[in-house]
Amino acid sequence: MAALSKANILKSNNLTGWLLAAPLALVLALFLILPICLIVVVSFWQATEFSIIPAFSFENYEFLFGSSVTYTVFLNTFKYAAITWAITLVIGFTIAYYLAFHIRSQTWQTVFFLLCTVPFWTSNIIRMISWIPFLGRNGIANSALLSWGVIDEPLEWLLFSDFAVILAFVHLYTLFMVVPIFNTMMRIDRSLLEAANDAGATGFQTLTNVIIPLCKPGIMIGSIFVLTLVMGDFITVRLMSGSQSANVGRLISNDIALLQYPSASATAVILLITVLLMISALLRLVDIRKEL
């Protein structure tokens, strides 16, 4: 009898669970699974200058893997991801550490934390554009350096360069590191730090032996965000490099602009596989649901 009612409860949990989850599942099925399946299908299609033709051909993939451009562009994308990841990690960790362990008043902690997150809710494109007056040939950075006598003529590589691309990435995405790392830091039991202190650990030893290991989940979640955002980007690279550099996202968007959907789809499939492999490797190291 007891077993029966338990089975009933489980059954009704399943039913209400699915009813409640139905809208979510529906949106994801229609706008995530179906489109991705379609991309995979179209990646085997063929294209003329004006239209795309259903087919089953490996032409797009053969072209993709046969072209040296592909490898250069993927390499460039990994380069952006790695550099941005390293910089945002160092800055993000430092800022989170300061907020979590050095700010003692809870009000100020909230205020500072909000100051770090507000830009997330504003437009990325405008935040990119706003570097133009700073980095341009006659921009603020060059004028300042000239007037201080550090340089004799304006630096050309500030805007429309890899430097500008990375700068914009760091500017846009550091808060994706700050928030999860701050979140895990706030859960660290403060008595652990006291214990480390009592046991004679220096501040630096406490940092490397206690805080950093305990922050690993936050670091992982932040890394997942930064890596996927940079890997999938196409607009930052276009705007900030002045179309002089390329990454995979731009390769895709260029094909789209030329209406070459099948070849865009093939590149997209390879990008998707790359990103998913990276993420599943990282997800093995952390359980997201526990960390919220």
Partner: protein, 278 residues
């Protein structure tokens, strides 16, 4: 209070520089948008004027900015409402630990990490190949949800992880139906946090670019309009537009945060009536 260590002052300086790095560029274009009519995209200021803001109001000068603003605003509201409703339902669903919840959760994570250009391309293809035609209110709306729903749902997880089930048990013990428990106990308690979900829903939609690029059809949303301007506008009018939308974003964030504080305060005031009798 103990003496501050030296590292505190160093890190404070670092934090100050970080804030300058975050907000400096935005402030710069804020100042530059008041350039005189002869002014360019960088300093020096050639006089100050409202010239470039006035330009924004002359439709021919810069395209259909106000139309795109209205569309972005409407789309933001649609996405906001949908995100709140679907996330709350989803959050409640995941508490039931129903069969298949693991797979659904992995899909949610996938939705968050899949590059947005793939969603844009896929949804765009689906609607154009399916003969439906892309439109910001259909395909654009759907593809933005794949970005806002995971955030909404993750916030819901965070909320329910901190939610004390004793409140529900108490309501059940007093004979409340599941719906009554939800309506009179659970929802009022989580209400302030839902404002956070709404904030994510609206602002992420309002600023979304990549996912709407191929799914909005012939009528642009505001970020698309601004993106178009970056390629062919070389006057401070683009800074004026940037400043206006940023001010608008700040105002929206301010409204949400204020509402959040007010509801939290109301909740604290109403507080617990334990022991006060009926």
């Amino acid at each position: 209070m103990s003496e501050r260590p030296r590292s505190f002052y160093i890190l404070s300086a670092v934090f100050g520089l970080f804030l300058l790095f975050l907000y400096g560029p935005t402030l710069t274009i804020g100042i530059l948008s008041f350039q005189g009519p002869q002014g360019g995209l960088t300093f020096p200021m050639r006089g100050t004027s409202l010239h470039w803001f006035r330009d924004l109001f002359e439709e021919q000068a810069v395209g259909d900015i106000w139309g795109s603003f209205r569309r972005s605003f409407a789309l933001g509201l649609m996405v906001m409402v949908t995100t709140v409703v679907v996330s709350v339902m989803g959050g409640l669903a995941f508490r039931k630990k129903f069969k298949g919840s693991g797979i659904l959760f992995q899909l949610v994570v996938a939705s968050l990490v899949i590059p947005s250009i793939l969603i844009s391309l896929g949804v765009g293809l689906m609607f154009s190949q399916g003969g439906l035609g892309v439109h910001w209110a259909t395909s654009g709306f759907g593809s933005q949800l794949t970005w806002t729903l995971p955030f909404g749902l993750l916030i819901m997880f965070a909320i329910f992880n901190r939610f004390d089930p004793a409140f529900e048990e108490a309501a059940r013990d007093q004979g409340a139906s599941p719906w009554q428990t939800l309506r009179h106990v659970v929802l009022p308690i989580i209400a302030p946090s839902l404002i956070g979900v709404a904030l994510f829903g609206f602002t992420l939609s309002y600023d979304e670019f990549a996912r709407t690029l191929l799914t909005s059809g012939s009528y642009n949303t505001l970020p698309l309009e601004i993106y178009g301007m970056t390629t062919n506008v070389t006057t401070p009018v683009i800074f004026a537009l940037g400043t206006l939308t940023t001010v608008f974003s700040f105002a929206i964030i301010g409204v949400f945060l204020l509402t959040l504080r007010l509801t939290q305060r109301r909740q604290a005031k109403a507080g617990s009536d334990a022991g006060k009798g009926v």
